[in-house]
Homo-oligomer: 304 residues x 2
C-alpha cells in the first residue's frame, strides 16, 4: 500500500520550551509532501528528520498565531536558495495571505519560484485542494481568531484484479483497466461476468484529520467521523479547564470526547501548554475516555 505517513515536527504551543517545538507536521502521501502549520524552527526540524524540502508542494496553515506560522518565512526563503522552480501553494485564513505577501515583498525579491496563496473559508467545511490522490477539506474550528483544521482523504483506489479469474475468462489486456474501475466483463459468448468475481475490493481510502487550535466543539464530530487518525489539540489538563475555556483551547479529556463520539480509529493529541513539565495527567485523562490515544512528540512518524 502506498505511503500515508504523518511526521510530527513540533507539538508544543506558543511559549517556547526546551521540550517542544511549535506546531508543524508533514504528511507524506504517495510521495508528495503536504505540510500542516509551520511554527518557528520547522525547517531545521525537517533537516533533523531528513524530510526533503524539495518535495513539499502544498502548505496548509490553520490560523495566524505565530506558533503556527512563524517558520514560513524561513522555509520559503530556503526553498528559493535551494533553487526551487515549481510553484508552492499555501492555504490558510485571509490574514496568512497578507503575512506571506509582506515577507515576499521584503525578503524574496528575485526568487525563481512562485508562492501561490489560496484563502480558506474558516466558517464552513469546503474542499480546499484536490489532486489525483487526495482531497483536502477545511474543518471550521472555534478559536480566538479565524481558524480551521484540515481533513486529508485519499482518493478511492482501483480494485485489485484476481489474476486467476482474468486468465480463466481470457480477459484481453485492453479491458483490464475498465475492470479495475468496476465494470463487468462480457465474454465472446455474451456471458456477463460480474465485476465482483474478477476483483477484490481496494483498501478503503485512508483519512487524517488535523484539528488545532480549538475550543471543545462537538460540531466537528460529523466532519471527522471514522477517520483513521484524528489529531486534536489538548493544550490543557482538566485542572486547567477554566484557562482552556478562556483561551479557546481544549483539555485532553475534551479531545478524547470528540474522538470517542466520532468513532475515530486513533487519536493523536498535542499542542501542550508550556506549563506542563510532564504529560502524565494529559495522557491519563485522555486515555480514560478514549484508550486509543497517542501523545504526539517531536520526531514521531505515524503510518496510517
Amino acid at each position: 500500500m502506498a505511503d500515508f505517513d504523518i511526521h510530527i515536527l513540533g507539538c508544543g504551543s506558543a511559549l517556547p520550551t526546551t521540550r517542544h517545538l511549535p506546531t508543524a507536521q508533514v504528511i507524506n502521501l504517495r510521495d508528495k509532501l503536504f505540510m500542516i502549520d509551520c511554527g518557528e524552527g520547522a525547517q531545521l526540524q525537517m533537516r533533523r528528520m531528513r524530510i526533503r524540502f524539495s518535495r513539499i508542494t502544498h502548505i496548509f496553515i490553520s490560523h495566524s498565531h505565530g506558533d503556527h506560522c512563524f517558520g514560513l518565512p524561513g522555509l520559503i526563503s530556503t526553498l528559493g536558495m535551494l533553487g526551487r522552480k515549481g510553484d508552492l501553494f499555501i492555504y490558510g485564513p485571509e490574514e496568512i495571505g497578507t503575512y506571506i505577501q509582506n515577507i515576499l515583498d521584503t525578503f524574496c525579491r528575485g526568487m525563481e519560484y512562485q508562492v501561490i496563496f489560496h484563502p480558506v473559508n474558516t466558517q464552513e467545511s469546503q474542499i480546499v485542494m484536490e489532486d489525483r490522490s487526495v482531497t483536502v477539506r477545511s474543518i471550521p474550528l472555534k478559536h480566538r481568531i479565524p481558524c480551521c483544521g484540515y481533513l486529508f482523504e485519499e482518493k478511492p483506489k482501483e480494485a485489485h484484479i484476481i489474476r486467476d479469474m482474468i486468465d480463466f475468462y481470457h480477459v484481453p489486456v485492453k479491458d483490464i483497466q475498465h475492470i479495475k474501475q468496476g465494470e463487468d466483463f462480457i465474454t465472446e459468448e455474451g456471458e456477463i461476468i460480474p465485476n465482483c468475481r474478477l476483483t477484490r475490493p481496494a483498501e478503503p481510502p485512508r483519512r487524517y484529520a488535523f484539528c488545532s487550535d480549538t475550543a471543545y466543539d462537538p460540531s466537528i464530530i460529523p466532519l471527522v467521523e471514522n477517520v483513521d487518525l484524528l489529531y486534536h489539540e489538548a493544550t490543557f489538563a482538566e485542572a486547567d479547564l477554566p484557562r482552556a475555556q478562556e483561551t479557546f483551547h481544549s483539555t485532553a479529556r475534551q479531545a478524547a470526547e470528540i474522538a470517542k463520539a466520532a468513532h475515530v480509529k486513533k487519536l493523536l493529541i498535542g499542542h501542550y501548554s508550556a506549563r506542563y513539565e510532564h504529560l502524565d495527567d494529559i495522557q491519563r485523562e485522555a486515555t480514560a475516555v478514549f484508550p486509543q490515544t497517542l501523545l504526539a512528540e517531536e520526531g514521531m512518524s505515524i503510518r496510517l
Copy 2:
C-alpha cells in the same frame, strides 16, 4: 569586574543545517542583555542556554536577510505573552522597521509593551545608542543590501581609591566621589595631593565589535582597532573565494587579515556556509594569519 559576556546562540548562515543555527548573539553587560541579530530559533536557543528573556532591553539587527532576523517575530510575541511591560528597543536598517511594523500589526495587537524601532545609518559610523554603561556605534559593512555591524564600548569606569592613602590624608567621605572621578585633594593645610597618589587607574573600558555580513572591507579597520574581541564573519574557506566575492561575504583568511591589521586582541569567526561539514580549513586559514582566532559555536560564552 562587572560582566561583559558574549553568548553565541547561532553562528551558521542562511541554509539550515543540523550543525548550526542562524546568526544570533546576546551580550550580557553589567546585567543588561543586548541582542545582536535574531535568526530563526533564537528564542528557543535562549531557553536552552538559560538566558532570561525579560532582561533583554535592546536588539540590534545588522540587515534584513532572513537568517539574521526571522527569529524576531517569535521573540517579540513571546515577550508579550510573558507579560512584559517595559519598552523594547530595536535598531537596524530602515527595512527592519517595516518588517517589524507588519508583524506588530498582524500578530501583536493588544500587547502590553511597546516596540520602539530606531533606523540605523548603514553608510557612516554613528552612535546608535548610549546609556550609563555602554555606547553602541554602527560599523558600515559592505553587503548585497544595507548592512552594518555594531561596536559595543563600555563607558570609562571610575578609578579605584587607595584606601590607605585616603586614611593617611584624612580625606572626608564627601570628597571621595570627586577623587574617584579624577580630582586632586587639597588638605586642610592647603597641600595639593595629586589624584594619582590617591587612586589606581580603572580597568580600561572593554570593547566588542560585531561584523556580519560583509565582503572583505579594510575600511572597517580603524573602527575596530584594538578591540578586545572582534566577531567577523568567515562564511567561506579560501578555495571558495570567488563565491565569497560574488555574494559579498568574507573568507576566514580575510577575516583574520582584518583582525591582524586592526591589532584586535582576539578574533571570533562564524557565519559558516552550509557547504562545510567540518571547519578544519576555515580554522587553519584564519589562525595562519591571526593565531588568536576562536571559532564560534552554538552555546559558547566568551567573557571579555
